[in-house]
């Protein structure tokens, strides 16, 4: 059980790190919202599952935290994307950009 929990914790940390890497690498606000929200949601859920394998008696608070992450993360990203669109930002196209990454 403890080994499974450690593996889940490690996978969660890897996905959180990949989400932050996508924040730096992506060319646009909308792409950053995409990678950051999805990667961090999966990473946080994986960390919660890993902690559950270590401490099964904490399941109630862990379920509350998981539902909270699953609800607030898409809502927050949607609101940020709408605000970014309202401020005049437009999605990035590769053809318009001279210096491609």
């Amino acid at each position: 059980m403890t080994v499974i929990g450690d593996i889940f914790l490690l996978v969660g940390a890897v996905f959180l790190c990949l989400a932050a890497l996508g924040m730096v690498r992506m060319p646009d606000v909308f792409n950053r919202i995409q990678t950051g929200t999805k990667g961090s949601t999966l990473g946080a859920l994986s960390v919660l599952i890993g902690v559950f394998f270590h401490h099964p008696d904490w399941w109630a608070k862990l379920v509350v935290l998981a539902v909270f992450v699953l609800v607030t993360s898409p809502v927050g990203s949607s609101i940020i994307a709408r605000a970014a669109l309202a401020t005049g930002l437009r999605p990035w196209h590769q053809a318009e950009d001279e210096e491609t990454v």
């Binding site: 950053r32 919202i33 929200t37 961090s40």
Partner: protein, 90 residues
Amino acid sequence: MMGLEIGILGGIAVALLGIAVLLGAARLVLGPTVADRVVAADILTIITTAALVWLALVQDSAIVLDIALVFGALSFVGVVAIARALEKRS
């Protein structure tokens, strides 16, 4: 002194979370628009929430889970407030 026994996997996880926080902070500093900084702050708060849950496991105290829940709720409210203000201003 509180004993923190995290092992080799825990050490790797802490290093990855530290790299993630550094990358998110880089986008928070560099971001060309306000929306970039808001997204970076959102991701940093999710990373911090996961780190708080992990800290609850390391310290073996369920109180830190409550702290993580309150931190996540307040950060969500903050992100929504900044985004709404940005939308109204434009």
